[in-house]
């Protein structure tokens, strides 16, 4: 048995899976609401809309909880994309992904691409929550809806960001599974073999927050 180390504490796993369930259901019900005659997943509008709004609240709790967790534990240093620092690391990462290099430097818990994706999701989730609640209760935030260009524009934003979620989730699932089964398992068990290093052998870059997440 390999020696294991903790990669994802329990709260990270809980929020990961509630958010995953919420977003998946939001996308499925959302696509149905958008095109009930093409995307025939339900046979009425009531169920998917109720599910959509219920999952909207689950997503709100998940987002707030995850952000709170990240702040109090210092985990935000692992995830938050910093344009200044992380862009510098992009070339070496892209070389690895494009098979131009066999390995990449150790970036810490997540590589700059992952950081960008995960920070982007926070941003996108906030956009969905804001535009979603405007559509849900148009008369609670009339000024906000107008500021964004009116309710049709709000709908367009909500729908475009849904596509962004779909595309980025696709990439996320592929990249994480292709990194190796241990990476996938670690989001269930929390643990990863101690010597699993993402083929890293380059120079070390500082690993902020490592002590906390481990």
């Amino acid at each position: 048995m390999k020696e294991m180390e903790l990669r994802h504490p329990i709260w990270i796993r809980i929020f990961h899976w509630t958010n995953m369930i919420a977003i998946t259901l939001l996308m499925l019900t959302g696509y149905y609401i958008h095109a009930p005659q093409t995307f025939r997943l339900f046979d009425n509008m009531d169920t998917p809309r109720m599910l959509h709004f219920a999952m909207a609240y689950v997503l709100c709790v998940g987002v707030v909880g995850r952000v709170y967790y990240a702040i109090v534990t210092g985990d935000w240093k692992n995830i938050l994309f910093s344009p200044l620092k992380d862009i510098k690391n992009f070339p070496s990462m892209m070389k690895y992904y494009l098979f131009l290099a066999d390995s990449h430097p150790d970036y810490g818990k997540y590589n700059p691409g992952q950081k960008m994706m995960y920070s982007g999701w926070l941003f996108m989730a906030l956009i969905q929550i804001i535009t979603g609640f405007i559509l849900y209760k148009p008369d609670l935030f009339p000024g906000l809806g107008a500021l964004l260009g009116g309710l049709i524009a709000v709908r367009v934003i909500h729908y475009v960001v849904t596509w962004l979620f779909l595309l980025s989730v696709l990439a996320h699932v592929y990249l994480d599974i292709s990194e190796g089964i241990p990476v996938l398992l670690s989001m269930f068990t929390g643990k990863m073999p101690k010597d699993f290093h993402h083929t890293s052998d380059g120079p070390k870059v500082p690993q902020p927050g490592k002590g906390v997440s481990a």
């Binding site: 009930p36 046979d43 009425n44 509008m45 992904y97 008369d139 049709i152 596509w163 779909l166 696709l170």
Partner: protein
């Protein structure tokens, strides 16, 4: 006939669904009485409009209200119904009334205000041989009114004339006159009751009714069409019309009921005979500030992807999705070829 109608009763009457058919007839005697007792004058002017709002107003079936509106109340410069014309109308009927009733009269504006080329796209008369632009008229007269009643989406929010590319620089009244409150009564055209009710309110109480965030009287514009729609059961059951006049919810042929504020659900048009959705035509959200900034018979507008080129969001999404799948496939092949995935990985890990 009771002399006094309390403001609360008035609001209840105008907002209530029972009023749908009888509102004008009921209000007429009160308005006539108020007008005789010296109600504030109402001046009506038209700019970049199609006159549809006036026609809609004159369409009120109740003859008594037409009498009131046309004779008793000072609709003194309504271009379609007044007696005087030309310089006389402008000087006598308008500037004089405004001067004598400064801060007390109400100005109804129909149509938006062209502001490009110093407003020369719309002139309404002459003064000393020089044209008077509609913009100047609205500013001169409107600036002295107690409030401006912007009737129709054009004057309230810009409407059709202000739709891009908008070569005449049309603007809503509230953008042209800043120092006077503006009551927006949108609609393309507005329901006659919305106009009659608003005029009745200012005549009976000398002031305008309570407004929502977008300057619309709450008594007419606080409900969303989709929430009160008689076809709502079809929506909930996902039964959609494929054509105009089919039974079913009209969402898939572009209904904008989910975003439209309007009480036509309980206040049918043409004297209570029918209304947009009941007659099988999707709501086009004609009362909303951004009207007509959307395709009427599609659910969502297309997305600009390059100057002058638009496409649907779904097409963009599918192309990007296809690209992602190709990218993933390519990468997977690379991964296998270089031995990053598969059994070799473990060996390599072991070597580390």
């Amino acid at each position: 006939m009771p002399t006094k109608l309390s403001r609360r009763e008035f609001i209840r009457l105008c907002a209530g669904s029972a009023a749908a058919i009888s509102m004008s007839g009921f209000l007429a005697p009160f308005m006539a009485e108020a007008a005789e007792a010296g109600a504030p004058p109402v001046i009506w002017i038209q700019g970049a409009s199609c006159t549809g709002c006036s026609i809609s107003l004159l369409n009120t079936v109740h003859p008594s209200i037409q009498d009131v509106l046309l004779k008793v109340i000072s609709l003194r410069y309504h271009p379609n119904v007044m007696a005087a014309a030309g310089d006389l109308a402008i000087q006598e009927a308008m500037y004089k009334v405004a001067r004598e009733n400064k801060g007390r009269f109400f100005l109804v504006v129909e149509g938006s205000v062209p502001t490009a080329a110093d407003g020369m796209f719309c002139t309404v008369g002459e003064e000393n041989g020089k044209p008077i632009t509609f913009q100047k008229l609205v500013q001169d007269i409107g600036g002295q009114a107690k409030a401006i009643l912007a009737f129709g989406t054009c004057s309230a929010y810009g409407g059709i004339p202000a739709t891009p590319p908008n070569p005449t620089g049309c603007k809503p009244v509230a953008d042209v006159v800043k120092n006077v409150p503006v009551v927006n009564v949108p609609g393309c055209p507005p329901h006659p009751d919305w106009m009659v009710g608003t005029i009745a309110h200012v005549i009976l109480y000398g002031d305008y009714p309570e407004l929502d965030e977008f300057g619309r009287p709450k008594m007419f514009f606080s409900g969303i069409v989709h929430d009160n729609c008689p076809r709502r059961q079809y929506f909930d059951n996902a039964i959609f019309a494929k054509n105009f006049s089919d039974p079913g919810c009209l969402l898939e042929i572009g209904c904008k009921g989910p975003i439209a504020h309007c009480d036509a659900t309980t206040r049918p048009w043409n004297g209570g005979v029918n209304w947009c959705i009941k007659s099988g035509a999707p709501c086009i959200a004609c009362t909303e500030p951004q009207f007509p900034g959307w395709p009427m018979y599609e659910r969502l507008p297309e997305m600009p992807i390059a100057p002058g080129i638009t496409t649907t969001i779904d097409q963009v999404g599918l192309v990007l999705g296809g690209a992602a799948v190709v990218g993933i496939g390519g990468h997977l092949i690379g991964n296998i070829a270089t031995g990053r995935v598969g059994f070799k990985k473990d060996e390599k890990e072991g070597d580390n």
